[in-house]
C-alpha cells in the first residue's frame, strides 16, 4: 500500500507556543484511521500544520511520498488531501451549490460531481439555491463533506464532524463515511465519539500533549479501554 500522508517527528507552533512534539503518523491509500484524544491535545493542530496555519519547525510532512517544504493552505487539496474543518467552514455568501463548486478549486477530476453529491445527500439538492449557512447543523456538515469530496481526494480528513449533532444524524454520517471509504477513499477521522470511531475506523492513533501515546487496530475492547484513559 502506498503512503498518502506521513507526519514524521513533527514539531509545530502557534507563535511561541509549542503544540506538537515529535508527532508521527502515517496513512496508506484506502485506510480508515481515527485520531483520538481530549480537547487541547493537538488534534486540530495536526490539520493546521498540514495547511500551514500552525508553523512547522521540525520534522517533516509528506503527501504521496513528496515532502511539503513550506505547507500552504491551498497545497494539500491539489495533492489529494481534502479537509472537512472543525466548525464546517460553510461560506455564508455562497449558495449550497456554489459551496460545492468551490470544492472543485483543486482541479482534480474523478468520481465526484455535483449530481453524485446530490445522490449521496438528497437534501442538498432540495436546498441547492439557499445560502449555505441557512442549513441546519447536520445539513451543513453534509455540505462540508460534499465540498471536500468535490476535490476527488485520495484522503479526507474529518475534524470532529459530529460535534454538536443529534445521535440520529451521527448514525446517518457514519453510514456515509463507510460508503465513501468503500469507494476507496482513505479517511482520517478526528473524533472524541468513540462509538463512531468503532463503526468507521480500522486503526487508531491516540494523542496526548501533542504526541502519539498509543496506536493499533480498532476493536470494542480497545475502545472501552481508551474511553476510560484517553478521552474521558
Amino acid at each position: 500500500m502506498s503512503t498518502l500522508l506521513k507526519f514524521e517527528r513533527v514539531n509545530a507552533f502557534y507563535g511561541a507556543a509549542h503544540i506538537l512534539h515529535d508527532m508521527s503518523l502515517e496513512i496508506a491509500a484506502g485506510e480508515r484511521v481515527a485520531l483520538i484524544g481530549r480537547n487541547g491535545v493537538g488534534k486540530t493542530t495536526c490539520v493546521n500544520t498540514l495547511l500551514g496555519v500552525a508553523s512547522l519547525r521540525g520534522g517533516s510532512i509528506a503527501i504521496g511520498g513528496s515532502g511539503l517544504k513550506k505547507p500552504r493552505p491551498y497545497v494539500a487539496a491539489g495533492l489529494g488531501v481534502a479537509v472537512v474543518p472543525q466548525g464546517r467552514g460553510i461560506v455564508a455568501n455562497l449558495s449550497v451549490e456554489e459551496n460545492l463548486i468551490l470544492g472543485t478549486a483543486a482541479g482534480r477530476k474523478g468520481h465526484w460531481t455535483v449530481p453524485r453529491i446530490y445522490e449521496l445527500f438528497p437534501i442538498l439538492r432540495e436546498r441547492a439555491h439557499t445560502p449555505g449557512t441557512a442549513l441546519s447543523g447536520g445539513q451543513q456538515q453534509m455540505l462540508a463533506i460534499g465540498r471536500a469530496l468535490m476535490s476527488n481526494p485520495a484522503l479526507v480528513i474529518l475534524d470532529e464532524p459530529t460535534e454538536g449533532l443529534a445521535p440520529v444524524i451521527v448514525d446517518q454520517l457514519a453510514t456515509i463515511f463507510n460508503q465513501v471509504a468503500d469507494l476507496g477513499t482513505a479517511l482520517l477521522l478526528i473524533e472524541q465519539n468513540l462509538s463512531l470511531v468503532e463503526r468507521v475506523a480500522h486503526r487508531y492513533y491516540a494523542m496526548a500533549k501533542g504526541a502519539v501515546i498509543g496506536q493499533g487496530p480498532v476493536n470494542a475492547a480497545v475502545m472501552h479501554e481508551l474511553k476510560e484513559h484517553v478521552v474521558a
Partner: protein
C-alpha cells in the same frame, strides 16, 4: 433645468460606479482602505492624456487600464501582500504615502497647469436627448459605467473565478483550503481594481479637466459610495454611486448652499438605517 441635472447626475454616478467598484474589490479581498485610489485615477487620466495625444482616445482607453493593471499587480506584490498581517492602520498609512508620491510624480512629469483631453471625434458632437442638447460623450460615459457594472456582475456571478473571489472575500482561509491560491487571486483582483481606477481616469479626462487636485473630490465621493453601499459590496456600491450622483446633481439645484455636505448626509442617513450599508458585508 432639472432634467439636465438629473442627466448630469447620471453621468457622474456612472463615473463613480467605475471608481468605487475598484475600491470595493480591493477592500473586499485585501481589506485595504486604499487612500491612493484617487491618485491612481489621476495617474490614469494623465497617462491617458499622453497616450491619447500620441495615438487616439480609444487606444488610450485600452492601454491605460492595462498599464494600470500591471501597476496594481506590483502594488499588491510589494505593498498589500507583505503587509496583510499588519495593523490596518499601517496599510492605510502606506496607501496615504503612495498618494503623496503619485501626486508629486504627476506634478513633476505633467506640471501643475490644467490639461484637457478632447473627446473622440465620434462623440464630439452634441445630440438631442428628450429635448435637451447634451454632449454625446456624456451619454457614452453612462454607457461605459453600465458596461463596467455589467461585466463585473457577470464575472462575479457566473464565472468560477468570480465564485472564488466572492468566497475569498468572506472566508479567505476556507477558500484557500479548497485549493484556491488566495494570495494570487487577491493580486489579480487588486490589478483589476487598479485598472478600473485608471479606466475611470481616462473616462473622466474628456469632461473633467486634468489637474493635480482632481483626485480629491472623486476619492471622497468614492469612499462615501463604498461605505454607503456596504464595505466591499459591488451591487451596493452600484446603487450608492447612482444615488450619490443624483443627490449631488439635484442638491446643486435646490440646496446649492448645502451641496458639499449632502453626500455625508446621505451616508449618515443610510448608516443610521442600515449600519452595514445597503448590502451588508458581501461582494
Amino acid at each position: 433645468m432639472l432634467s439636465i441635472n438629473i442627466f448630469n447626475g447620471l453621468v457622474y454616478g456612472a463615473l463613480l460606479v467605475v471608481m468605487s467598484s475598484g475600491l470595493a474589490l480591493i477592500y473586499g479581498l485585501r481589506r485595504v482602505v486604499n487612500f491612493a485610489h484617487g491618485s491612481l485615477y489621476m495617474l490614469g487620466a494623465y497617462l491617458g492624456y499622453t497616450v491619447a495625444s500620441h495615438t487616439n482616445f480609444w487606444v488610450a482607453q485600452v492601454a491605460v487600464p492595462l498599464l494600470m493593471g500591471l501597476l496594481g499587480l506590483a502594488l499588491d506584490r510589494f505593498a498589500f501582500r507583505p503587509l496583510q498581517d499588519r495593523d490596518p492602520l499601517t496599510v492605510i498609512l502606506v496607501t496615504f504615502g503612495l498618494l503623496l508620491v503619485l501626486e508629486d510624480l504627476v506634478q513633476t512629469v505633467w506640471g501643475k497647469s490644467n490639461l484637457s483631453v478632447p473627446a473622440p471625434d465620434l462623440l464630439s458632437a452634441s445630440v438631442d436627448l428628450f429635448g435637451m442638447s447634451v454632449p454625446a460623450y456624456r451619454i457614452a460615459v453612462i454607457f461605459f459605467g453600465l458596461v463596467v457594472a455589467g461585466a463585473l456582475t457577470l464575472w462575479l456571478r457566473y464565472s468560477k473565478m468570480g465564485l472564488f473571489v466572492r468566497a475569498a472575500s468572506t472566508e479567505p482561509t476556507i477558500t484557500s483550503m479548497q485549493g484556491v491560491n488566495v494570495d494570487r487571486l487577491s493580486g489579480l483582483v487588486v490589478a483589476v481594481g487598479t485598472a478600473l481606477a485608471g479606466l475611470a481616469g481616462i473616462i473622466a479626462a474628456p469632461f473633467l479637466s486634468l489637474s493635480p487636485s482632481m483626485s480629491s473630490d472623486v476619492i471622497i465621493d468614492s469612499f462615501v459610495v463604498v461605505v454607503t453601499g456596504g464595505l466591499g459590496s459591488l451591487s451596493g456600491a452600484f446603487a450608492a454611486a447612482l444615488l450619490l450622483g443624483q443627490v449631488q446633481a439635484v442638491g446643486a439645484v435646490y440646496l446649492p448652499e448645502f451641496a458639499t455636505v449632502l453626500p455625508y448626509v446621505l451616508m449618515m442617513a443610510v448608516l443610521l438605517w442600515r449600519p452595514a450599508g445597503f448590502a451588508g458585508n458581501r461582494v
